[in-house]
Symmetry: C2
Subunit: 210 residues, 2 copies
């Protein structure tokens, strides 16, 4: 755990803080698809990602989802932070996109470290900044882009986060995360295939050039 923490956060935090994290943090490994946070749940701790990726999803009143963004190595969940401080319910769902390693920090330490460590303050504020901007870009995409552009961006992100050109999802799953319908996504994917940008297979997509 020491080694992994230093690799991901060594350049961000001073040694004293790293040591504190080692003392109070709980190391956790979760498989792909593991649900870390459910909507409406109270959050017990703040996660520091060591490796892997977590997808953050929003849900409408009918239970349909919408992918907001991914959290990756060296990042944390801003929603968790405020939920911890304010003791409010989670407004989002968090699911591991792939196998993920993380360290959970107890709530009360968050506040304590904010007063104590400058690097921690920067990390916390920086995380908020990143997240707010991330949500804004998601919002841009929904408000300003058509579905074909959103799909292309979705595929690009997926390729980047998973670091491979093969996307192991069905059209149905993709439609779900984009808050669209399977038929529409199939239609658009077919168009992308005709343009030579992807090749389609059963239950997976090969991304050639987007």
């Amino acid at each position: 755990m020491i080694q992994e923490l230093k690799t991901s956060y060594g350049h961000l935090f001073e040694d004293a803080l790293i040591n504190e994290i080692l003392q109070v943090g709980t190391y956790k490994e979760v498989p792909s698809g593991f649900k870390l946070i459910e909507i409406g749940a109270y959050i017990k701790g703040m996660p520091l990602l060591v490796s892997g990726a977590i997808k953050i999803l929003r849900e409408d009143t009918d239970g349909n989802e919408l992918l907001l963004y991914y959290i990756e190595k060296g990042e944390t969940c801003s929603m968790s932070m405020t939920c911890c401080v304010g003791r409010t319910k989670s407004e989002i769902r968090a699911i591991a996109e792939k196998e993920t390693k993380l360290i959970m920090i107890p709530v009360q330490k968050m506040e304590e470290w904010t007063a104590k460590y400058k690097s921690w303050r920067h990390f916390v504020l920086g995380s908020y900044h990143t997240r707010l901007n991330e949500v804004l870009h998601t919002l841009d995409s929904i408000a300003f882009d058509k579905m074909d552009e959103r799909l292309v961006n979705y595929l690009k992100e997926k390729v980047r986060v998973n670091n491979k050109n093969r996307i192991d999802n069905t059209h149905k799953e993709i439609a779900y995360e984009l808050h669209s319908s399977r038929v529409v996504i199939s239609r658009l994917l077919k168009k992308l295939e005709r343009l030579g940008k992807v090749t389609l297979h059963r239950s997976h997509i090969e991304v050639l050039d987007l």
Copy 2:
């Protein structure tokens, strides 16, 4: 200034902090429509709202706008905070919705007070929390709601923020903030009038019951 600061922030900040704010803050009054922040600009200070309201807008690549949310008395602009810390450009535009009084805090104090005052830390984190949730709700509305619902919510918000049932905007202006077109908004407003929820006049709308 002392009186107004205490009224708006007295219950949030300890006296020592109030005094510091009085020493370094600059009092400012801006008229309705005044542009406080432009997209791409660097932000010089962090605003604390004493009275009035500021609307925060996002712009697409073609220059069309989208209303994100309002900032009101006792609140601050989270975007400014992070821009101050990170010295990054603004991703949003801020325009006074009505006559607004505010106090500008110099950048470097932000960091200093975060270490020094617990109430400041809570205020800063709380602001982020509120904003992040606010943006999420805006996003919900865009992703999940149809235009008629969005329009009703827009009118409700406008009535609440301005504290009067008369909305002094043209259909064109409303269309602009909702990122729609004038004809569509006229159509939907007419429908609302037929339902007895509003009455339409030239350049203003009377809200009866939404």
